[in-house]
């Protein structure tokens, strides 16, 4: 054996000592430093949609905000929560208690988002959530420290579901991931369908995680003879479902409604398989001059890929926070998370990702949502030219009306 035991042992003994170091330096930081923590999925299934790209987007926002020119230091930290709520909550606490992080950005997956949501409330910090989907963040779980930035399950259900029913898809069958997010998406979309006069013929729930083959569920969907098959799952599950639906020729007689799919998923599927899908997002790189300019800036940090709406949301959220913090003064902004959030809600937002917008009392960031159709390979003119815009829902209608959310912050 060539590896020297003693060196390894020595190294292992040194580890805890090294670990102790960052704590000491953290507390001695000067007070005109703002610390932005990007807590995201760096190693799991959502990595491509947020992950390193979200960190790059936040760094870009720091640069674009111009606050460093005004004598404010900004530090960007990143952390990998591995899609585990307990890890997310531990990192968030540590960042706030020890590293003096002022705002936590991104937080992929609903369960982690909810976990960090209660941490920032307890510690009077801030979460600007971009990637988490659950509409509960501005509903029963809402608080004065969280802003839900990019999208939510209600918006997805209404935009995609509503449009499908309007275009004649009035009978539905759901293939649902058997976990809270899947159930919520199925329930919300089902409500939309029924309200618009459609029917839900049935649903099947597949184990999550651990399902690779969806052919059996797709067959059950075919046998239901529903006009629309709704996919209430996410990430790799959705990609596998769509891939196999194409293989089994499901799309010849039925329409496939993907309730949560982002552009990196489409990229991974390839247009040949993904063509014709309808999906909803709040951001697409090729919407207008501003989004194109932003995407070109972000591209290099993403290894040549175009930003997803999650990453664009991180950019937009960080930019708005920095604007408000600069206006308040660093000391003020650091003092109380809830105070800063109040100021963020008071100031209208404007950025290259979502254009002009605002933040509602319940913490919902408002901007338009878009229904896209995936282009066929023939229609696509170049790399990442994937979407056709079908319909725009204005900001006021895109998200759940405040009164229906049941958020305790809403005073009537």
């Amino acid at each position: 054996m060539t590896i020297d035991r003693r060196t390894i042992l020595g190294g292992a003994a040194a580890l805890p000592v090294l670990g102790a170091l960052p704590w000491r330096s953290a507390r001695a930081q000067a007070n005109n430093t703002l610390k932005l923590g990007v807590l995201t999925d760096m190693s799991g299934t959502y990595r491509d949609g947020c992950g390193p790209g979200s960190v790059a987007a936040v760094r870009q926002a720091v640069q674009d905000s111009g606050v460093t020119g005004r004598g404010i230091n900004v530090e960007v930290l990143m952390g990998d929560h591995q899609n585990k709520p307990d890890v997310a909550s531990t990192i968030a606490r540590q960042w706030i208690d020890r590293d003096g992080v002022d705002v936590i950005i991104d937080v992929a997956t609903s369960s982690c988002a909810l976990a960090v949501n209660s941490v920032v409330k307890e510690k009077n910090n801030i979460m600007l959530n971009s990637t988490g989907a659950t509409a509960d963040l501005t509903g029963p779980a809402c608080n004065a420290n969280t802003i839900h930035w990019t999208y939510d399950t209600w918006m997805l259900a209404n935009s995609t579901g509503g449009a499908m029913v309007k275009s004649g898809g009035d009978s539905w069958f759901f293939i649902t991931a058997d976990y809270a997010f899947g159930h919520a998406l199925e329930r919300d979309t089902g409500d939309v369908v029924k309200k618009a006069g459609g029917r839900v013929l049935g649903s099947v729930r597949h184990p999550f995680p651990g399902t690779t083959d969806f052919s059996s569920f797709l067959l059950q969907a075919q046998q239901s003879r529903a006009k629309v098959v709704g996919l209430a799952n996410a990430g790799v599950d959705t990609i596998n479902s769509v891939k196999q639906a194409a293989e089994f020729g499901l799309t010849r007689r039925q329409k496939l409604a993907v309730l949560l799919m982002i552009i990196s998923d489409v990229h991974s599927l390839g247009l040949q398989t993904a063509q014709g899908l309808s999906l909803s997002e709040t951001f697409y790189w090729d919407l207008n001059d501003r989004t194109r300019a932003l995407s070109n800036k972000l591209k290099s940090g993403l290894g040549g890929a175009m930003p997803t709406m999650w990453q664009a949301g991180c950019y937009s959220a960080a930019l708005h926070y920095l604007k408000v913090a600069a206006e308040m003064g660093v000391a003020q902004a650091k003092a109380s998370g809830a105070e800063t959030v109040v100021r963020m809600k008071a100031m209208p937002t404007d950025d290259d990702a979502f254009g002009a917008g605002s933040i509602r009392q319940d913490g919902r960031k408002l901007h338009p949502s878009y229904l896209f159709e995936v282009k066929s390979p023939a229609e696509s003119k170049g790399p990442w030219d994937y979407y056709k815009l079908i319909r725009t829902t204005p900001a006021e209608e895109a998200f759940r009306p405040m009164a229906e959310g049941g958020c305790s912050l809403v005073r009537t």
């Binding site: 184990p207 052919s215 790799v236």
Partner: protein
């Protein structure tokens, strides 16, 4: 009553067919695992990662070198098998005299490394890979269902490979040496057989089987770094139920469990990932060495 039964049968007939298709993957994967365990006494936890590598190598061959599916079907297992040779020579060969646990831990560590590296390089959401044009097009009409051509091909390919492997190990001189070496390696060595080389090649063979399954899976499942780890625990269960190290056992169990899983997806879909473990517990209590294992 009879009508009800017929209706049920009509509903489940397609599921049985689909179950067999999935069973083909289980059979191929557990075959490689069983070969490695039977001959080397190593529980190869990196099997899922090697399956994933097979799919990725197919993708690389196509996109970097322009080699299509049929070429990849042969080249990818060879490349990943060569990787297996390196792993065996450098690491696994040091563990044969030790407890199973160490082989398991080492290969588990390897799986972490491989998956992590692929995730850094290729991201997590996967890469597109299309089936060869000769196997696309209109699905085959079986009367009660439409089955895509590619799935038929998967079943046929898996059956042929499983049968061939079984024949090699049970009926050829090479197989006889192998089996003898697992019983008494020094004796076989004394007869002039290069046992270490044979063991290395066996490991490479098992790994190549995983890679072959990976290439077969690439056109229908998302080619992503996590694609193997979602399979691995299930495939372990298949091997254990079949009887650790029993080639025939793991193949038959693979197909049978695919079938059971398929039917569960109709009756109680939420439990379709768990049913295999229920069966495993029952089988191990009734027959400690698995269905086909020798105690």
């Amino acid at each position: 009553m009879l009508e009800e039964l017929l209706f049920q049968l009509e509903m489940s007939a397609p599921q049985i067919v689909l179950g067999l298709v999935n069973g083909a993957f289980y059979a191929l994967l557990s075959l490689g695992l069983a070969v490695i365990f039977g001959m080397l006494n190593v529980i190869n936890f990196a099997h899922g990662a090697q399956f994933m590598m097979g799919a990725f190598v197919a993708w690389m061959l196509l996109n970097w070198l322009g080699i299509p599916y049929w070429g990849a079907l042969i080249l990818s297992p060879l490349i990943v098998g060569a990787f297996g040779v390196v792993i065996e020579r450098l690491m696994i060969s040091r563990l044969y005299k030790l407890d199973h646990l160490y082989g398991l831990l080492l290969t588990f560590g390897l799986a972490l490394i491989i998956e992590g590296l692929f995730r850094n390089q290729f991201g997590s959401s996967g890469l597109p890979y299309s089936p060869p044009t000769s196997l696309t097009g209109a699905p085959i009409d079986l009367g009660f269902m439409m089955l895509p051509k590619y799935r038929v091909w998967v079943v046929v390919a898996a059956l042929v490979v499983c049968l061939a492997t079984w024949l090699v190990i049970e009926k050829t001189r090479l197989g006889a040496y192998l089996r003898a070496a697992t019983e008494n390696a020094p004796l076989v060595q004394a007869f002039g057989v290069n046992v270490p080389r044979m063991v290395t090649l066996t490991y490479a063979g098992g790994v190549a089987l995983a890679a072959l399954a990976g290439v077969l899976a690439a056109p229908i499942y998302s080619v992503n770094p996590g694609m193997g780890s979602s399979f691995i625990i299930t495939v372990f269960a298949v091997v254990v139920i079949g009887g650790m190290g029993s080639i025939l056992g793991s193949v038959l169990t693979g197909f049978a469990l695919g079938l059971v899983e398929g039917l569960t997806k109709v009756v109680y879909p939420e439990a379709s990932a768990t049913v295999i473990f229920v069966i495993m517990a029952i089988v191990l209590l009734a027959r400690p060495a698995g269905l086909f294992g020798r105690a």
